[in-house]
Amino acid sequence: MSSQTTDRRQRMSAGAAGVIDGPKDRTDKAPGPRGPQSEDLQEDRQTLVDLLHQMLLIRRFEEKSAESYSLGKIGGFCHLYIGQEAVGVGAISAVRRDDYVITSYREHGQALAKGISADAVMAELFGKSGGCSRGKGGSMHLFDKSVNFLGGHAIVGGQIPLATGVAFASKYRGTDQVTLCFFGEAAVNQGAFHESLNLAQLWKLPCIYICENNKYGMGTSLERAMSSHNVADKAAAYELASEFVDGMDVMAMRRATQRAVERARKESLPTLLEARTYRYMGHSMSDPGNYRTRAEIEKYQERDPIKLFTATLKENKVLTDRDLSDMEAAIKEQIEQAVRFAEKSPEPDPKELYTNVYANP
């Protein structure tokens, strides 16, 4: 439980019967300048640089998504991952290409981290035939069988039983593949979460449940929605292993996921990770965010995952300013290329309306 925060601030809340002790809340680490510590950096240089590259790629991709949405190039709902990059990147860096990832509708970043090309993701957002779901899924339903990315799912918590079943299949077949399942903290209030954790521990399934606690389910803060604020503690009800993780620290996410992956691969046991993170943007592009203050957002931005990791890499002489500007330039070009690809990709053929309803029509 190395990432578990120790700050247990006793909260008081007024209950119907008077003032009672509220839940013990493991709040965020106090904002500070430190990110990943140098002793964490055991990986080779390329691995570390790749982690930063992926986070930066996601950040720039999402900024371009926001811009494209405003230009009317992307329709429907569009949920951005800005602020949460360390969670997806750190966790997915701990699994193999043939391991499974399944997630919610806020999944552009995880899709990129699992290896879907920026071209294919952007084309999907644009509703084009070159998209990873051939234009039929959109922002909330990115899929790519070739990298075992099993989709964005848009009913809150709906992917949690699915992930449990994917892990069941690995165990049934005797493979050592593990499944990463991402969801927001609001999904924890759904029955699907509890039913899945019970089954996963009962049947010892190699599934890693990663709650991205970004503090808000749409416009409702966690405090207004959850009687007990510590998601990781809920694992105790099902006797699952669990950890709190600093979701703004990519190395902490990587380490915690590595521990969970080991447990899943070697012992076929599930784990619940609660990644404390924060989304900078609205719930979706149509959310003006009137439920929180600019000061609150800025407080979390002080511990921006990309800023923290960049500083650590520079401090430890893994990365120079020149490397960083080269990386920014390459990513800028990659994103521009993705937009060009998406623009040029044809719309789905009208005949596609009636395909893929049934495998055997």
Binding site: S133, G137, L150, G165, A167, Y172, G191, E195, N198, Y358
Partner: protein, 327 residues
């Protein structure tokens, strides 16, 4: 051929398909050690072991979704609902996950799963345990819906459903498990989904019936024969895909049609069949399409009220007489 109950025919289909394909597994409440709440899965745990025949907790949303996830990873789950009444808890996973996965993934993830169990009216189990839900599932693109009316159909259709690459809702009529009939024992015996069967040939009126209403329609046809009316009884057997061509062909021959069902009339499968007939064969009709359906009420407990809620052969006889202008 052997004479057996629908329960045993279903059991044989499960047994044969579990033996045939190692990716097929069965899970649900009380399917293994208890031998099945309705004994459809009797002996399967002993034959295939706890890896393939799995007791679940009472957690319908959880195990339905787990099944869909396992199917995404290439397995072929058979998920038993102790009754389809409990599938209501799992509809998010059935409709939003199973039915739509292939489409929203652009053709990448088909879901070869069977959700099966008893449905329709039962004996005096009141409102929450006695209802017909096929129109819910037939409404959703991506799902197939199967409702057998004989032991042979039950076996052949269930084997096809298990081998099918799409999600199939397989509704067994709770009152019909003990019904006996001849069943082919050939392991290669299957009945394709989407093919209706004429259960009785006739010339004067068509009765479209499924599931529990098939024996009622056959009894009605025998009764009407005495009055000189030759009825054709046609059983679509699968609601999705629906063999509307076979139904329309029969209507074009007889020019009169009654659609019998034990589900509610409003937004029901009978309403859909009626609309299709009106669109495709209006000029052939000598009388308006007549539906015989359950009362539009929750199922009552009291025996007399329950009997009033579910249609029987008398109502079918009356409906055929009405479209034949006999009264």
């Amino acid at each position: 051929m052997a004479v057996m109950t629908m329960r045993d025919a279903l059991n044989q289909a499960l047994r044969e398909e579990l033996a045939r394909d190692g990716d097929v597994f069965l899970m649900g409440e009380e399917v293994a050690e208890y031998q099945g709440a309705y004994k459809v899965t009797r002996g399967l745990l002993e034959a295939f072991g706890p890896k393939r025949v799995i007791d679940t907790p009472v957690t319908e949303l959880g195990f339905a979704g787990l099944g869909v996830g396992a199917a995404m990873a290439g397995l072929r789950p058979i998920v038993e609902f102790m009754t389809f009444n409990f599938s209501i808890l799992a509809t998010d996973q059935i409709i939003n996950s199973a039915a739509k996965m292939l489409y929203m993934s652009g053709g990448q993830f088909n879901i070869p799963i069977v959700f099966r169990g008893p449905g329709g009216s039962a004996y005096q189990v009141s409102s929450q345990h006695s209802q017909a839900l096929e129109s819910w599932y037939a409404y959703c693109p991506g799902l197939k819906v199967v409702m057998p009316s004989t032991p042979a159909d039950a076996k052949g259709l269930l084997k096809s459903a298990i081998r099918d690459d799409d999600p199939v809702i397989f509704i067994e009529q709770e009152r019909m498990y003990g019904m006996k009939g001849e069943v082919p024992e050939d392991e290669d015996f299957t009945i394709p989904l989407g093919v209706a069967e004429v259960k009785r040939a006739g010339t004067d009126a068509t009765i479209v019936a499924r599931s529990l209403m098939v024996p009622a329609a056959l009894k009605a046809a025998a009764e009407l024969e005495k009055a000189g009316v030759s009825c054709e009884v046609i059983d679509p057997r699968t609601i999705r895909p629906l063999d509307i061509d076979a139904i329309v062909a029969s209507v074009k021959k007889t020019n009169r049609v009654v659609v019998a069902e034990e589900s509610h009339p409003f937004c029901g499968v009978g309403a859909e069949i009626s609309a299709e007939i009106n669109e495709r064969a209006f000029d052939y009709l000598d009388a308006p399409v007549k539906r015989v359906s359950a009362a539009y009420v929750p199922m009552p407990y009291a025996k007399n009220l329950e009997q009033l809620a579910i249609p029987g052969f008398e109502q079918i006889v009356a409906a055929v007489r009405e479209v034949s202008y006999l009264d």
